[in-house]
Amino acid sequence: MDNEPIKEKKWIYEEIVGRIPPFSLLSYKYSILLQFLLLLVIGITLGFIFDLGQISLLYGSLAILVAISWSLLILQLAPTLRKFRAPLSKDENELLERYKGILFHKNHYEAVPGLVIFIPFMFYLFYFGTDLLDMWLGKAPHPILLLFVSLLIWDICYRMGLGLWTSVLALWRSIRLKKLAEKRSELEHTPYTELRYLQKLDINNVFFGIISLLLLPLFKTDAFLVIITFFFMGFVILTSLYSAYIISTVPWLPPDIYNLVNESSFAYIGTSLKGKTHVTPVVYVFDGQKIFFNTSKEAKKLKIMQENNKVAFLIDKRDMSNIYENKAVLFTGEVKIYGIMDIPMHFIDMLSALKLFMKKYPEYTKKYSTSELPKAWQLTPIIARILVEVKPAKIIYWRGAKQISVPV
């Protein structure tokens, strides 16, 4: 796939910071830390010069802390999206390019919501007779102080705007991606790693929303602003959670492989211990996202996997009458073995896997349940039959004689 290389995409803030030494010389985390310290030093110095109360310094530091924490979260967007690999679907790739294009538009639309918040807020603060300024700075503050506070307010508003802007765009992107994913054909898909990146960014935005709680002490005397802050927080958190949820339902396997995994009855599991390999058939289930198989507690492969959890897991469709119709998919990677200790954390996962097994292999469930069987074979879930999840790092797909490597 030939995409034009992703240009360095930056927001106004990143661009400014990126040009001024010493910030331009530091990695972005240190650069943000340095900005934090610098703002704090300026604030405290001004506080001493103009003889502000301790409470004013506290309010100022809190505002700086919020602005800086938001920066830390939001500035992860650009580097993450920069290393994003192109989806193997033309439509999905176009969507993500459009998403990035709007997010980092050269007209800097990202500053618009910030301005929309900043201007009414300043009016409210200076002309609506709220006593917030008195509370922050005392009576008749010096213009230099007002300037510094306005700067901090802009910093906060700009980032609030970014929070709204990124979470709304993310939700739009997730809904579109989900729709496009339903129209995929053959090997089209967006790889697992990339989907997880998107999800991680959404979760970052959830934290972004939570951090706005820190603003509440600053507004404590103004019920209206408290309500607005809660509204803002709720909006950012819900949009981002919903977006993350949608991404978690986008299949990470292309339709050809998805269908093969969904429709086959058996798989082969290859394991290796000190170079000696072992391969046996297993029954497995697939819930659209995760692949689980089942093994007896006494099985040799379980003992091997407990020492070396690297596996090869193969699902195929074999047809001797038409070899060109043969299909197989190989997942190589690791496994997670579920034990009793996992029940509290993964109860729902384990239960739904068990249900899928009963639905997919009703006869097995019935036959395994009889007590005439050797103990190891009895279907006493979790105790005698162990649930194992396949976590692929690499996928190879064969169709006829063609071998295709599919990115995860």
Binding site: S272, L273, P281, E363
Partner: protein, 160 residues
């Protein structure tokens, strides 16, 4: 040692084998193969491309296992199969006039066997220029039917 009838039936009655190899980091790899079983030498053979991952793995680690089975999605008690474990020997790859007579004979025999077993599929397709024959020297076989297992050990074959 004669191998039991039920194992013979599986080795002769099935077309697909699942070969497992692993690299020097103990990362396993699996592929389906067409195979033949030679009763006289009690060895299994399959043909593969010398650039394949399994050949690369075998050059790092000659241990190999292959499973041949009958699967019944309805009744697990009909599931039946054999796993053979051992080491692999790969025939030299060289232009045909440099191959030893022994290797040539092996190529010829194996190819004839393959042709008769997989006639429908390979028709008259000749061996490709990168194809090599992998010979599995079996050290152990595990047979199962439903929940019952049987294990067979073979004497190590030091002749190669």
């Amino acid at each position: 040692m004669r191998i039991p009838e039920e194992i013979r039936n599986i080795l002769y009655g099935n077309y697909f084998g699942y070969v497992c190899t692993s690299d020097k980091n103990d990362q396993p790899h699996l592929t389906p193969v067409f195979f033949i079983y030679d009763e006289n030498s009690q060895k299994l053979f399959f043909i593969t491309n010398d650039r394949s991952k399994k050949v690369k793995n075998l050059s790092e680690n000659p241990n190999i296992s292959i499973t041949i089975d009958i699967r019944d999605p309805v009744n697990p008690f009909n599931n039946e199969g054999v796993m053979a474990q051992g080491t692999a020997t790969i025939t030299d790859k060289a232009p045909i006039y440099f191959l030893s007579e022994e290797t040539l004979q092996l190529y010829y025999d194996i190819y004839q066997e393959f042709k008769s077993k997989y006639q429908k599929v390979i028709e008259n397709k000749p061996l490709g220029e990168n194809d090599v024959i992998v010979q599995i020297n079996v050290e152990k076989m595990v047979y199962w039917k439903g929940p019952h297992f049987k294990s067979l050990k073979f004497k190590k074959d030091f002749s190669g």
